[in-house]
Every structure is written in structure tokens, then in C-alpha cells.
């Protein structure tokens, strides 16, 4: 059966997926450029990530002689998990491309899947660096996850649903009234944990290859050629997924509520602007914050978790 509704869903799905897939490397370029400018460097062009991906894609693959089939499967699986996750997020239209397939918990689950596979693949080559990155990644993720979930649950409880489309719709209808103390606190908490989850300063330095400080990069150290390209691209997609979670729960304004050419165009422009702003903000954070000692990370993340709990507390105890 081919109703107009499915046609709309397919169209918005194609639009959003093209946007996400096309924009992902650009956001990294913008973040790097912002960082460079704030450090009085010219920095590489904002298009450099595309060139890097093309370069890696055309190179040949070298893998460790200790590696198993996981090393070739992992990039594909990590990429697929993040691509599917992006389809659950209402970035352009209030109804996400895969509406009804999963809520915010499913997005978090897909992020966990990508982390599980990536951290496991990092141990495949039997290198010390892989173990280093893998163990750090899962430890930091353990501190990130409670804050991430609690912040989103605060938004979900305010909206009365864990469905991201429903949350966005509810926020749109509430207007400025959406920003209750609970949502504001939860938004602040999410911002902190999202920086940790996407591997930016002060938690991880995405530009380093110094073994003492690597987290995400250490896990990719054994990947080369097209596999490296796919894994780097997946990391760029992850930024959009996490940013998309933030936008749909806390700043959904601008998404299209009806499927027509003009609203969709406006919504696309708004989405691009919001994502670029986030990329610039990450560049600023990268430039002005020094990396935390790895043992000091729990302090900052527990503050974020505390903020998220406070958000729920205001919801429970202040709202009658």
C-alpha cells in the first residue's frame, strides 16, 4: 500500500539522511577550524575531513596478523548502528524518518551497540594501545551514561513520552513554556555529558595521537585504509546523533510540523544552522579548555549527573 503518508515519510527520510550523511564531515571541519582560529592558527580548510575520508578510502588495508573477522566487520557494524540511530531522530521534521521504530532509549541502545563493537574490535589486534583506548572508553562511558539517560528522562517526563518525535512536538506546542527549571537543568547536564560522549576536550582530545592522552583515537590505531575511513565517518555521524538527541529534546524549535516544500526547506536550513552552531561551540570548548587528568573526569561528570538528578527533583518536588 502506498499512501501519501508513507511517501512523506520516505521523502523526509531521504532528506534527513542526505543531510546527516553529507554534513557529518563538515561539522568536524568547522570544529577544527574554530579551534585553530582561536589558537591564532589558520588551520586546515573546513572541507579537509572530506579529503581525508577520500584519501583513506582509496588506500589499501593492512591488518594485524592477530586480527580476526571482527576487524573487518566492526567498521560496518559501527557505521550501520549510528546511521540507523540517526534515522530515529527528528532533525528536520517533527516526525523522524523511522518514526515508531524506536524512542530515545533505542538511540542510546544503538550508541551502546556501536561502543560495544568498537571497544571489542580495539582488542582484536592484541596491541597495548587498543586495550588502553578500549578500557578508557568503556570507563568514561560508564560515567557518562547515567547523566545522559537521566537528562533525557527529565525531558521525557516533562513531555509525557520517551518518543523523540513526541517530545519535540510537545516542546513546540509549549513554546517558551517548555523551559521549565527541569528542562533547563537537564539541558545543561546533557551538554556536559555529550561533550564527553563525543570525545572532546576536556575529556578527550580528538586531534591527539600521543599515547598518554588518547581515548577514541587509540581504538582506531590498528585500522587503516577504507576501514579507517568508515570508522572516522562513523565518529562524525555519532556527533550528529548525540547533537540530534540534544536538539530534539531541548531545542527542537524550527523542525517542520507539516510535510510541504517550504516548511521542509526552512526546517533544513534551521537544522544546518543549529548543527553548525554546535560544531562551533565544540571548537570553542576544544580551544579554551585544557584536558582534564583522567582521574579527575568523574568529578565533572558526577556534577552533570547531579544536575540531571536535580532536574528530575525539581520536576517531582516543585511541580505539584
Amino acid at each position: 500500500m502506498f499512501t501519501s503518508q508513507t511517501l512523506d515519510a520516505v521523502l523526509t527520510g531521504l532528506l534527513q539522511t542526505t543531510l546527516v550523511a553529507g554534513l557529518a564531515p563538515l561539522l568536524l571541519g568547522i570544529t577544527r577550524r574554530t579551534k585553530a582560529r582561536l589558537q591564532y592558527r589558520r588551520g586546515p580548510s573546513i572541507w579537509q575531513p572530506y579529503r581525508d575520508l577520500a584519501k583513506w578510502w582509496s588506500k589499501s588495508t593492512v591488518e594485524s596478523d592477530a586480527a580476526t573477522a571482527l576487524s573487518s566487520l566492526a567498521p560496518a557494524l559501527v557505521f550501520a548502528a549510528l546511521l540507523v540511530a540517526s534515522g530515529l531522530i527528528p532533525l528536520v521534521a517533527a516526525r523522524p524518518p523511522l518514526a515508531g521504530w524506536g524512542d530515545l532509549l533505542v538511540v542510546i541502545g544503538l550508541l551502546a551497540l556501536s561502543r560495544f563493537v568498537l571497544a571489542l574490535a580495539a582488542l582484536d589486534a592484541g596491541s597495548a594501545f587498543g586495550g588502553l583506548g578500549s578500557s578508557r572508553e568503556v570507563a568514561i562511558a560508564a560515567l557518562v551514561e547515567p547523566g545522559l539517560i537521566l537528562a533525557l528522562v527529565a525531558a521525557a517526563v516533562s513531555a509525557g513520552s520517551t518518543d523523540l518525535g513526541a517530545i519535540a512536538a510537545r516542546a513546540l506546542s509549549a513554546g517558551i513554556g517548555w523551559y521549565t527549571p527541569a528542562v533547563l537543568l537537564a539541558g545543561a547536564a546533557f551538554a556536559v555529558v555529550a561533550v564527553a560522549d563525543t570525545g572532546h576536550e576536556p575529556f578527550d582530545n580528538p586531534d591527539t595521537h600521543l599515547e598518554l592522552t588518547m581515548v577514541h583515537e587509540a581504538m582506531l590505531l590498528e585500522a587503516s585504509g577504507p576501514r579507517l575511513a568508515v570508522l572516522m565517518y562513523a565518529a562524525q555521524l555519532k556527533l550528529i546523533v548525540v547533537a540530534g538527541l540534544f536538539l530534539s529534546a531541548f531545542v527542537p524549535f524550527g523542525v517542520a510540523t507539516q510535510i510541504a516544500p517550504l516548511p521542509l526547506m526552512l526546517a533544513t536550513v534551521t537544522a544546518v544552522v543549529k548543527l553548525v552552531l554546535i560544531a562551533v561551540a565544540l571548537g570553542v570548548v576544544d580551544a579554551v579548555l585544557a584536558k582534564l587528568r583522567i582521574l579527575a573526569i568523574p568529578q565533572l561528570l558526577s556534577i552533570a549527573t547531579g544536575l540531571a538528578l536535580a532536574a528530575l527533583a525539581t520536576r517531582v518536588w516543585l511541580v505539584a
Binding site: V62, S135, V138
Partner: protein
Amino acid sequence: MTAAAEHTWVALILPAIGVLLSGSTLLLLGGASQRWARNAALALCAAASVAIGVLAIVVLSSNQPLEASAGRVLGFALIELRYDALSTPFLAALAFVGTAASIYGLGYATHDSTSRSRVFAAYPVFLGSLLLVFGAADAFAFLLAWEVMALSSAALVFGPAPSRSVARAGYLYVAMTHVASAALIVAFAILGAEAGSTSFADFGQAASALSDPLRDLVFVLLLVGFGTKAGAIPMHVWLPKAHPVAPSHVSALMSGVMIKAGIYGLVRLGIEMLGPGAEWWGLLVLGIGAVSAVLGVLYALMEHDLKRLLAFHSIENVGIILIGIGVAMLALTHGAVALAGLALAAALFHTFNHALFKSALFLAAGSVQAAVGQRDLDRLGGLARVMPVTTLAFALAAAAISGVPPLNGFASEWLTFQSLIGVVGSAQSSPVAQSAGALAVGALGLTAALAVACFVKATGIAFLGRPRTPAAAAAHENVLSMRIGMGLLVAACVVVGLATGSVAPLISQAAAPALGTPPVVGSAPAALTVMPALGGPTYAALPLGALLLGATGVSWLALRRRGPVRRSPTWTCGIAPEPAFEYSATSFAKLIRLYFSPILRPEREITVDRHPGTPFARSVHYRGEVQPLLGDRSYARMHGAVVAAAELVRRMQSGSLQLYLAYAVVALVILLLVAR
């Protein structure tokens, strides 16, 4: 034996199972050392397990309880059975794990001395007792089955010739299981006295007639009794000791099914019989669940013995199940019946799922131990190349228990999260319950992330990288029967995960009668919906899984088309790679050990033996240990208190006949005064 059911052939199922199990026991008593006898008995056990599965299907689809009874002694029923919808998730778990473990046992016996001794006659008895526990409809019959279950599994833990450490683990298990039984006997006595019968059917009414303090007491006793069996913290000490020393397929049954008897009892008696209670009941269960989940996974992360690690994960998962049960109790108290149904369905679904993946993991761990003769993670490594089937089974089950979509663990954790969010957001909840729910959301999130960490560690260190010992390098894949056993359970994990949209509504149907509600988990085609009447959120496992698989396949093919892959040694800064360079189980968990040191309280001791008169070390010894909260030390203190109390009581026992006569007289006088 009589049976009341619509179809007469259904009445044949129970006797058939009985015949199969007793037949296999007889065969085993005849000689478990004889290969043919053992194999015939295990085949009968597998057949009986399949019959148990049929029983579950019949009960659920006919929507009518199946009743049977046999053997009355002095008016007490020895076997008094009533299988209703609530029994079915447990029966299904028993069917899957029983079948897989029995098939696995065919090949595993060559590696396991217990399987070749007469003690193994306890195995079919154990299976049979589990079947009885999940259907007993009478306090006496329940306790009888309960004790047989405890003793038969204890016999399998001890084995034919227990070493000192095995015997200690076994005795601890027996002691704890009797503490549990004692608590249950007192609770049943209170209920039975009020009801004037030992039948569970009368307990519901009796419970509502009890005074509040007495009902509270019954609840606490039930929680202690069933919580101990389930391995909930703080009654968990026996579990990580007893489960690892049992043969692996028995560990699978113990972790996958037996500890669920505690969950079953708590739901059957704590929720169905006692009904809505005080708010602190639900808060207590929720708290115990959250603490068990977080501490269970943290202690699992600190382990490097593969089976002990898995045993601690059982504590974690029982915690997740108890979170669901706690929410169900809170919601019942607040009168939010739909939410209670959702939470109980989440708990029962996770119970079933945990049976599948935890048993698969235990069977895979047994396969590793059989092949390498070791289960210390730091002496394994690189098994993926020599044991591909075991590796795949372990990795898939590890992904399932880590709660990643589209596998089954995620589906039930998703429902648990939904029920917690329900209690936080519900207008019917009290602020205290809402706050507790919020804290539990955080705890469950932490648990899920730590479980990912732990199973990356277990899978990566044991199966990937380079072999750390010659034994690990020389390992080879096990026989077909063991692979079938593991494969069956892992396939079930995948299928149940993808078919969540069809399975979860069935579980919801099983949970509903215990609460007197209509099922609250509905299914759009292939999708799982929470409270469809309210238009709740959905999770469409099947399309999501298909899309995931498709996208993975396409990108994998695209990667393959990029040309040949050159293999070369891992770069280790110019020296030849050695296994010692790899991260070990201990170093992998180091950061988490440091992050959670206020809870874990790690102790380390480094002794350096130097050449005399020089600063140069001759040898360095490292010893690291984690002291569990509420672990051995708190129990040692409790044990000391019990012994001291016993010493005090012993003073009454002077041995003098006159004194005993005086006691008798005093007791008589008191009795006459009381019973006047």
C-alpha cells in the same frame, strides 16, 4: 495422578515428564560412569525439557490452569500442582535451558568428573524439582520441591570428591539456602495459621485478613527467603562461590533457572497473594534491586575468573529484575494497575531473557574450560581463531546481556526503563516513589554501561588478541553436542530479540493475572508498544534489526570490494609483539577500579625483594584484592554474633536433670497461663 484440563492429552504431559525424569534418574543410578547409560539419561532429560516447553505453550494458549496432585501423607499434599499463566515464563526458561544443558552434557561429560559419577543422578532430580517448584500450589508441596531443588543442586556443586575450597563453597550454599527455607517456613506458618490450610489458594484471603504488622513480617520473611535464593545483595554471598564450582551445564541451570525460583516465589506470594502493601515494600525491593544491579556488575568487572565473573552478573541481572518487581509493587500500592502490569511484564521478560543468555555464557565458559583447562582470563586469549563457534556464541550472548539492540537483553531492559519512567512521571506516584524511581533510572543506566564494559573485557581478553599461555594456543573447538547446546540458546537470544513484538505481549499476558489486569504490552505488527491504549512509545525490533543487518551487510561488502588485505604483525614500537604487551583483565578494569574506589575499596600490596645491598630488584610481587561491601567480612561479624548468642543459650544447658525438670515445670505453667 489426576489432572483437570480441557484436553485430555494435556493430562498426559505431566506424567510423561515424571516418567522421563525418573527413568533418567534410574539410568544414572545404574551407572553414570557407563557412557550409554549417561547418554540415555541425558537424552531423556532433554526430551523431558522439551515436554516442559509444550506444557508452557499449552497453559498459555489454552488460558486455563493445569492442575494435578498426587500422594497425600497425613493430609499434607506431597505433590499439588497448578500451572497457570504466571508459571509459563519460568517453564519456558526451564525448557530452553534444560534442553540445551542436557544436550551439552553429552559431550561435556568427558571433561567433568561429576558427570561421570553417581552424584550425577541428582541432575534429573534437580530438573524435576525445578518443574515442581514453578507449579506447587500448596505450602507443603512447595517447600518439599524447594528443598529437593536445593539439595540436588548442592550435591552437584559438591561433586564426587570435593576439594577443600569446593566443600567450603558447598557448605556456604547449603547454609544460606537453609536460612532461606527457615524464613519461608515461618512465613508459610503465619499464613497457614490464618488460612487454616496449607493451600496457596487460601493464602490470598488469609493475607488480607492479617493485621498490618503481621503482614509486614510475612513480607520481610518472604523477601529474605526468596531474595537469598535469587542472590540479591545482601543475601548473595553464596552465589559467586557456589555457581563457579558446579559443572558448567549445572551452573547454567543454577544461574539461568534456579535463582529465578526466588523471583517466582516473590511474584507468586509477595505480589499475587499478599497484594498491594505498604509503600516501603516496593521501595525496599526497588532499593535492593538497584544496589544488587550496580554492585553486582562492579564486582563482576573486578573478576578475572570467567565463571565467577558470570556469577556476579547473575546478581546484577537479578537486581534488574527486582527493579521491575519493586516498581510493580509501588504501582500496586498507588493503584496504578496498568503500570504495575508493565513493570511485572518487564521483570518476567528479563527473567526469561537472562535465563537464555546467562546459560549460553556459562556453557561457553565451560567449553573454554574444557578446551584450555583454565578459566582465568589472564591465561586465555586468542581463542577466536581456534574455537570459532564458542567465540561466536560467547560474543553474541555477551552482546545480549550487555543490552544492545536488536538482541533480547535490550528489549527487557527497555521495558524496565519504561516502567521506571512511568513511576517517575505518573501522577499517581508519591514524590518519594518518584524520587526513588529517578535514582533507579540512574542506577540502571550505570549498570547497563558497566555491563558493556565488563563484557568487552571478558570477550576481548579471553577470545581476541594473542594467546597468553601455550594451553590457550593449543586449544581446539569442542564436540558437536556442546556446540549445539550453546547454539540453541544463542539462537533463542537472537530470535526472541527480533521477535520481541510477539514475545513481550505473551509475557505481559502471563503477568496480568497475578495483578488482575488486562495485558499492557501490545504489539503493532512486529513492534513492541508500551500501553498501546495510551499511545505509548514503540520499539520495532524486527524492522530495526533488519535495517541494521542490511546496512552492515552493504558497508561490509563495500569494504571487501576495496581490494585485498595485507596482514602484518601488530606494530609494537619496533619490537616483536608479545602477549605480555596486551591489556589483561586486571589492567582493563583498572580505570573503573580507580573511579569506583570509594565503593570497591581496592587493596594492593607490592613486595620488592632486592639483591642485598643494592637497589636492584630480584623479584617483585603484586597482590591486588577488592573487599566487597556486605561481603565476607560483614558475614564473619554476623557469624560471630550468632556463635556468641549460641554460647549464651548454651548456659541453660547445664546437664543437670533437676534443672531440666524445672524448665519443664516453668514451661507448663506458662503454657497453662497463656492457653487458659
